[in-house]
């Protein structure tokens, strides 16, 4: 019960963060989205044993969080919430790939552990960045940007409706869960059977609501196409933001910066 309500509160919080007016918030949503896509592609296309080359990429999420006035701890909690998924994907690598690739003192580090660490770092970087994107742009504006950049409209509208009604649905589910727990004693009535019928009930209510919404849309001239009127304008700051970050990501992707620096310093030392 409390988890449903509190996770709703969390979505609300992310939404509230996007209502700020920092310089990052004021950027055109398309620009932020494109920069983030380039960021993710650059990270994902790196070699799977790569760790050092990933590190400099952290500057982008840090930049967004710092200038966008976002609470780091809150975002960290969200990232940790999603971490088990990445963990389960990566954790098999050390068992499957046990070729020792280098030694730290007497301990041999296998390629599997390296790629596992690489997966976790990539995961943290991308999820942090996407959360920061949504918290500085707002979910609706991200959808709008997707649509402007050519993502099929049907898909975007689905996302928008999902976001609109997730609030209504979680409230409804929260009320049902509360009503149940208030009349359940000693764990009776909390079993899977009641849960099943509650889920069924929720589905039926949702279908009913969908029907009512459709009627409401039809009576206002809906003809199968959702029209959105958003004047978006790109200015100099937006172009600077996009070209600067894209150039940096591509550079960081092509050249392993920590490695080059290390080389340079060891060269100087000699």
């Amino acid at each position: 019960m409390s988890t449903i309500s509190s996770s709703l509160f969390d979505v609300n919080h992310l939404d509230a963060l996007s209502n700020q007016t920092t310089c990052i918030h004021r950027l055109d949503p398309r620009v932020k989205l494109l920069a983030t896509v380039v960021f993710i592609v650059s990270i994902m296309s790196l070699d799977r044993y790569q760790i050092s080359a990933l590190m400099p990429f952290a500057i982008y999420p840090i930049f967004l969080i710092a200038l966008g006035n976002l609470p780091f701890k809150y975002l960290l909690r969200k990232v940790l919430l999603a971490a088990p998924f990445a963990f389960l994907i990566g954790i098999w690598n050390p068992f499957l790939d046990s070729n020792v690739s280098f030694h730290i003192g007497p301990v041999g580090i296998s390629g599997g552990w390296l790629s596992f660490a690489s997966i976790m770092i990539r995961f943290a970087l991308t999820v942090f960045t996407v959360l920061a994107l949504i918290a500085t742009t707002g979910f609706n504006a991200v959808c709008m940007a997707l649509e402007r950049l050519g993502v099929p409209r049907g898909f975007v509208v689905q996302l928008l409706f999902l976001y609109r009604y997730i609030f209504v649905l979680t409230e409804e589910a929260g009320r049902m869960a509360r009503a149940r727990s208030l009349r359940s004693f000693d764990g009776k009535g909390m079993g899977i059977r009641v849960f099943g019928s509650m889920i069924g009930n929720l589905l039926l209510r949702t279908l009913d609501r969908a029907q009512r919404i459709h009627i409401a849309m039809l009576s206002r001239g809906f003809d199968g196409e959702i029209r959105l009127a958003y004047p978006l304008k790109v200015n100099r700051r937006d172009i600077l933001f996009l070209s600067g970050w894209t150039a940096l990501f591509i550079l960081l992707r092509l050249f392993n910066l920590p490695y080059l620096l290390g080389d340079m310093f060891s060269g100087l030392a000699k």
Partner: protein, 250 residues
């Protein structure tokens, strides 16, 4: 020819499971009239409104709006002239922002951008919700949602307004403000409601439905003052026409 006339002739309807909902309803509402549709739960108010809004097609009988019979073919044409405000604003406000929702109908009607903007501004202004323009609907209070829901149909400048329980779930002040708003409208209005005190304020004419038929149709003051008639319809006198609960005299 006026777009503002609503005619219902011998309308009958049963739900798919066979439950009869309307059994021969007839009435005519003329230009600028404000009509309350009252009756106990299950009397057929909502079903009737769904017919008027063209969401249900008559099984027998006829609905005419602005002298145009409502059939599958004419529905798109008729819908341009009617504004239907549903009971639950969460059903009505489905777009990401208040602005999008109010602009939804004008955009569908194919107006140019400046005209859409003007219509949105006017509609929000009429209901006193200009400041809510860029807010998402889930962040509005009940009263604000109701106002915006009304603005979403005003923006298409309908000739006729149909409303389902516009004052339900509102706090006393929000209800009072909404009544003030409804009184100012000059549209032909049909309002389905249990709030008989609101009917007394807003509507000049009242129709009582019972088990899917009209049992009374006349001036609001006469009908809502007739205790016997109201009792037959499963209703009670408006609270303001009842005795004072403190000194208990009629």
């Amino acid at each position: 020819m006026s777009h503002h006339i609503v005619e219902v002739i011998d309308l009958e309807y049963s739900y798919p499971d066979g439950t009869p909902a309307l059994g021969g309803v007839s009435f005519t509402v003329t230009h600028g009239e404000s009509v309350a549709l009252v009756g106990s739960n299950g009397a057929g108010k909502s079903t009737l409104l769904l017919h008027l809004a063209g969401c249900l097609v008559p099984q027998s009988g006829e609905v005419r709006i602005g002298h145009l019979p409502l059939t599958k073919k004419t529905i798109p044409q008729v819908r341009r002239n009617i504004g239907m405000v549903f009971q639950d604003p969460d059903d009505q406000l489905f777009m990401p922002l208040v602005y999008d929702d109010v602009a939804f109908a004008p955009l569908n009607l194919g107006f140019p951008p400046e005209e859409v903007e003007q219509r949105v501004v006017n509609a929000l202004n009429t209901v006193g919700a200009t400041h809510l323009r860029n807010r998402p609907p889930y962040r509005l209070s009940g009263g604000e949602k109701r106002r915006v829901a009304i603005a979403t149909v005003l923006s298409m400048s309908p000739s006729v307004l149909f409303m389902d329980e516009p004052t339900s779930n509102l706090d006393p002040r929000a209800r009072r403000e909404l009544i003030g708003l409804l009184k100012r409208f000059e549209h032909t209005r049909i309002i389905a409601t249990h709030d008989l005190d609101m009917a007394l304020d807003v509507c000049t004419r009242t129709i009582i439905l019972k088990n899917g038929s009209v049992i009374a149709d006349g001036p609001t003051v006469d009908i809502l003052g007739n205790e016997k008639l109201l009792h037959t319809g499963g209703l009670e006198k408006p609270l303001r026409l009842q005795g004072c609960p403190v000194c208990n005299n009629n």
